[in-house]
Symmetry: C2
Subunit: 466 residues, 2 copies
């Protein structure tokens, strides 16, 4: 029976051209990571579900791809035990038949790696990791079920030098790619400070979630939402001037410092908030001295979904193309705690390769000649002629030149067509005459220029092809 093949929804094949374009992005990011002293690691695609569950919230748990236990997964299981009034206890049964899941991000596997290999690692440990992750999200434009993350994290250091270096990495990567970006920076401690000075220290999450929506729903609705979450009018009075802050970074920090020090309507002082402002101030001081090319700014509406950030928060937006954030990250103090290694502060960023791809495509910023073609096609003119050219081809390949030998003594027209379709710029046609004269004929298909070389004269051939 003939099957019409397809691939799972939300997944993709990458052909030659896309691979070249994607590799251009990955290589650019990788090379920048390396110059900052980050070293590469890789972790398995499958992790134990005990490692993954509970790290991404209830919603994340649902989006994990679970892998059926190998062998007979149901052996020893009585499914009747999982029958409930309104159907099957899906969760209970699933937990019996699936012990592994596919990696959901690179951060949790990194934390697991650090804990497992803590005795081999020199701290501060700077690692980068470029691998696919899988999420059972509803596929839609620009959202895939398999996509590649490019993460750099440093763990075991609290210094703002790390934050600076991540900003520098972002700056360098997007400058090399030719993408103009805005690097938005916030600090989770400052958000905590807001909650404290407004008198609702336990409402940090509600407040940050509300603030996160400022761009989307506007001030009025944000305030309504905070009220709905149980914040008092006086608390909202404290927060409003923060949302309306204007001016330079220095001015914003200075204004916030006054509020955090007890100068807000509530008169409450927040040590945590002040600490966050110190961090922000130090980071922006470093940024000024290091000469960042791209725009950077404090964005207090920046909260990001993840609950584990405890210090700096980053998000990067493309300025010339409408798309969500193309890079983001932050500092987390407790990531390895759950795996038994407490007091390890880390900070990291993640580049969204798929969105960066869309930006480069959309703005026409991919380099023109991301060469994926071979340099030269040798025509097949018959067995004896092939045997004559093999040593020549061999020498060229050993010099790093991508050569193809057309593998069929077919009409030359067809062989030319192949070269054209594959954008191969040179063709070499060598018949009996060339063989007897020990010559190699090469034609530049773009210019039409044709030249004959001694078969042994590899250097001249290479010069002509370059």
């Amino acid at each position: 029976m003939i099957q019409k093949p397809s691939i799972p929804k939300g997944t993709r094949d990458f052909g030659q051209q896309e691979m070249a374009e994607r590799n251009y992005i990955f290589d650019t990011i990788k090379n920048v990571f390396k110059t900052f002293g980050y070293s590469q690691i890789e972790t398995p695609a499958m992790e134990n579900l005990s490692t993954l569950l509970g790290k991404y919230g209830d919603e994340g748990d649902k989006l994990l791809f679970r892998v059926l236990n190998s062998g007979n997964a149901f052996s020893g299981i009585d499914p009747k035990e999982y029958l409930e009034e309104d159907g099957i206890d899906d969760k209970g049964l699933t937990s019996k038949i699936c012990e592994k899941g596919l990696r959901y991000d690179l951060t949790v596997p990194f934390a697991r790696f650090v804990v497992m290999h803590q005795n081999e690692i020199s701290f501060p440990f700077k690692r980068y990791q470029i691998q696919p992750v899988w999420r059972a999200d509803k596929p839609q434009k620009g959202r895939y079920r398999e996509f590649c993350q490019c993460d750099a994290d440093v763990i075991g250091s609290k210094s703002q030098v790390n934050e600076l270096e991540l900003v520098q990495i972002v700056d360098r990567v997007f400058s090399l790619l030719g993408i103009n970006v805005l690097i938005k920076i916030n600090n989770r401690k400052v958000l905590t400070g807001f909650a404290e000075i407004c008198g609702f220290p336990d409402k940090v999450v509600d407040i940050t979630v509300a603030i996160d929506k400022l761009d989307k729903i506007g001030l009025e609705n944000v305030e309504a939402e905070m009220k709905e979450k149980g914040l008092s009018d006086s608390a909202i009075e404290v927060i409003r001037p923060i949302l309306l802050l204007k001016g330079s970074t220095d001015e914003k920090i200075s204004d916030m410092r006054k509020l955090m020090a007890g100068g807000s309507a509530s008169g409450i002082k927040s040590e945590t908030g002040l600490k966050g402002l110190d961090e922000l101030e130090e980071l922006f001081d470093y940024i000024a001295s290091a000469g960042i090319r791209q725009h950077t700014e404090i964005d207090l509406s920046l909260a990001r979904g993840l609950n584990y950030y405890t210090g700096a928060i980053f998000e990067v937006k493309a300025l010339d193309f409408a798309i969500g954030s193309i890079c983001g990250g932050g500092r987390y103090d407790n990531l390895t705690g759950i795996f038994g290694l407490p007091d390890m502060s880390g900070v990291g960023i993640s580049f969204g390769a798929d969105r960066i791809y869309d930006v480069l495509k959309g703005t026409g910023k991919f380099p023109e000649h991301l060469s994926t073609s071979s340099t030269i096609l040798f025509a097949d003119m018959g067995k004896e002629e092939l045997k004559y050219i093999f040593p020549v081809v061999k020498r060229l390949r050993e010099a790093g030149i991508a050569c193809e030998v057309y593998p069929s003594e077919t009409k030359l027209k067809k062989q030319f067509e192949y070269a054209n379709k594959k954008n191969i710029p040179f063709i070499s046609i060598n018949g009996e005459t060339e063989r007897q004269e020990q010559a190699i004929n090469i034609k530049n298909l773009a210019s039409g220029e044709q030249k004959s070389f001694a078969a042994e004269d590899t250097d001249s051939i290479i010069a002509f092809l370059s």
Copy 2:
């Protein structure tokens, strides 16, 4: 609750050093593939089970990792329907709750890719693919449940030039890696010919499986096994001289040609066998003209497990290290037929990166300086000093030099230790004096040589670090 983290059995983490070593192997292979005009593709980790099932035999089907359908996998399913006398109908229930599986090899996804993208592809299509595959094999030394395959295949050409180029690729890769190998070559048509001239044309598989064991169990047991499979004594008489063939490649081919042409004890002629011998002869003729450095030989005991080979069969063994085959492949005529694209002949090889890794480790052939370290560590001497060095560090990184800034104003001894542990060859310590003099002090930790540079003199600094 603190979890002691672990990873699924048969999977591995790769740290910095292993990554450098593995990338050395992958990059070597990749670069050779490119010079032969192969272009890279990637396919999703998950394929529909309908694509995978039935392609690897019953045993292979059992070894597929299945992915549970997302959402509520058991929704609408009554497990009671799958209860049988002796337990659960595991297979039936599994097929309802799992529609996807993890990639088992790269060949079937490649065939699926070719069929789905046939209108965008120029044939003959030469692709390479380097991606992990997953098999629920029992983990043991050197066998993993997640491992990386490195495949090159060309599809849409029947020419032996392709076989030659694959042999050349093998030759070049192992020559570059410094591994001495034996490239064993056989042809499935010749094996078919054996079955035909001995009068049991339907016993090809039994005969080849038996021949495959020649090395392991010896001639006598192979003959016993063939008899057990139903071959007559006279048939075994026909096959014996083939198993005992001696001499050069030319002599072997010439002797077999006589047998296939009707000169065996049975007097039966095999056109298929003769065709296979033509192919072998052409390939070895090409090999002689192309100048292969590594050893090549005909090995008639070479059958390989996979049923889909129809022409050439390759297997590569390391000569200086005891390990199974480190590379293998062959020609298949019908691979895309099952997906609706008939008459596409292809030939490919697969490099076993894990075994190659073991050979390089075991023979000490990894290059000494697979550099994974940064070039220079800048000590943290305080905030003002950091701000002074940031622009210097930035210029060095932009020149491609991997620099680290120690992110904590701690004792210099500790910063030196960090450089030592991470094999960073240079350290730069710049205090208030250097800052005021606009100088940069650099020490070569191996030689002890120390030099001072003007902070702006990037070229001299780079020269010192090179």
